[in-house]
């Protein structure tokens, strides 16, 4: 049945790893927005949650880098990071192999997606789940777009992946929610960590809320790197979510630059008709 929820959020590891170093008010507002997003997802009574992430060398490396990948297992493990560093306890997270397989078969009709029967979640999935599904009671279908190891997945292909995910989700009887995770401008884990181009972020989110395909996919990688840093390459996940919304417009429910978290912390939702 048609996708029941479509949104996007930040996944920066600092949100949990360096929580107390942020302005208390800003952190609490972000955490409240995350929890509201979790409530909104649950209100749509999903059977599973597709998480479109931009992983950071937890599973995929330059020896065999897929442009797109989806998990196909009954459980996953995460976070892969040092638990004391990320401050999220490592655990098994439920998946749904049969559902994943149906979705992958659907996506494969138009996009050549790799599949993985094992997948270790990193902060790209574990930080959002920590807030969105703290009970870890919703099966996850992880998906990934290569935003890390150049040559990167082209933006127009990220859009095609989002369209393919939507078509696949609409074709199965399950109620599915989709959340894309990533940063907009950021320079993570470099000497420039904490730099945020807020104006660029707000412009990108305006294009996202308008669900303007041409504007969303018009950036070159050189422009993204100049204005949004290497972390800005993760806009691919937001673009996939916009495509999955099939023309619906979006609402930016929270957007606040928090330098110690290294990003404009964002919670956004596409107003799809569920």
């Amino acid at each position: 049945m048609p996708l029941v929820y479509c949104g996007a959020c930040s996944h920066a590891p600092g949100i949990t790893a360096r929580a107390e170093r942020a302005d208390t008010q800003a952190r609490q507002a972000l955490e409240s927005a995350f929890r509201r997003m979790g409530d909104d997802i649950r209100a749509t009574r999903p059977d599973a949650l597709i998480v479109v992430a931009a992983e950071h060398f937890a599973n995929f490396f330059m020896n065999n880098m897929p442009a797109f990948a989806m998990g196909m297992a009954d459980s996953y493990e995460g976070p892969i990071e040092d638990e004391a560093f990320l401050r999220i306890e490592r655990r098994r997270v439920p998946g749904n192999k049969a559902l994943s397989r149906k979705l992958i078969e659907g996506v494969m009709q138009t996009v050549d997606v790799a599949y993985a029967e094992e997948w270790k979640f990193d902060h790209g999935i574990s930080v959002p789940l920590h807030f969105l599904t703290p009970g870890y009671d919703l099966p996850i279908v992880p998906a990934n777009i290569n935003c890390q190891g150049p040559p990167l997945t082209p933006l127009k292909r990220a859009w095609a992946f989002g369209e393919a995910l939507r078509a696949a989700a609409d074709a199965v009887p399950e109620r599915l929610a989709l959340v894309a995770t990533g940063g907009i401008s950021h320079w993570p884990a470099t000497p420039d960590s904490g730099k945020i181009n807020e104006a660029w972020d707000r412009e990108f989110l305006a294009r996202w809320a308008a669900n303007d395909r041409a504007a969303l996919t018009s950036y070159s990688d050189a422009e993204i790197y100049r204005d949004g840093g290497q972390g800005g390459f993760e806009i691919r996940t937001f673009i996939a979510a916009a495509a999955a919304a099939k023309g619906a417009k979006g609402t930016i429910e929270f957007c606040e630059p928090i330098p110690i978290f290294a990003v404009s912390c964002t919670i956004a939702r596409m107003q799809i008709a569920a």
């Binding site: 790893a17 360096r18 302005d23 950071h56 060398f57 937890a58 599973n59 490396f61 330059m62 020896n63 892969i80 990071e81 040092d82 560093f85 270790k120 890390q148 150049p150 320079w187 993570p188 884990a189 470099t190 000497p191 420039d192 960590s193 904490g194 730099k195 945020i196 807020e198 790197y225 290497q230 630059p257 330098p259 110690i260």
Partner: protein
């Protein structure tokens, strides 16, 4: 240059507990499985986080290698800055330093700007 080999070793250390155990118990044997230059090997063993950054190691790999060595976040960022001073600009990979003002100064400026608006 064998940045790929350096990054692959760090990738394996980050994701595989057994590689971490082996690295602790028989580091030289693990290092010997990778085609490394003397400089890369030295940077890994010390570890010289600043040099690894300058060699081009992706921060998404390097920050976990630093955490493995119990290097705290601010010390990790400072090590990269010192690496740029000691070893010059990043030689390979996607990075270029941009003269960033620093997290505290940046945060204070954003707050000031918000108060003005």
């Amino acid at each position: 240059m064998s940045l790929y080999q350096v990054q692959k070793l760090i990738y394996q250390l980050n994701r595989d507990p057994r590689t971490r155990e082996r690295y602790a118990a028989e580091r030289d044997a693990v290092l010997a499985e990778h085609e490394l230059t003397d400089e890369e090997r030295r940077a890994l063993v010390e570890p010289d986080i600043g040099l690894l950054y300058v060699l081009g190691v992706n921060g998404q790999l390097l920050m976990h290698f630093a955490a493995l060595h119990k290097i705290e976040w601010n010390a990790y960022l400072e090590a990269m800055r010192q690496g740029l001073v000691r070893h010059g600009p990043v030689r390979e990979g996607v990075y270029a330093a941009t003269g960033y003002e620093g997290v505290e100064a940046h945060d204070a400026r954003l707050k000031r700007e918000r108060e003005i608006h």
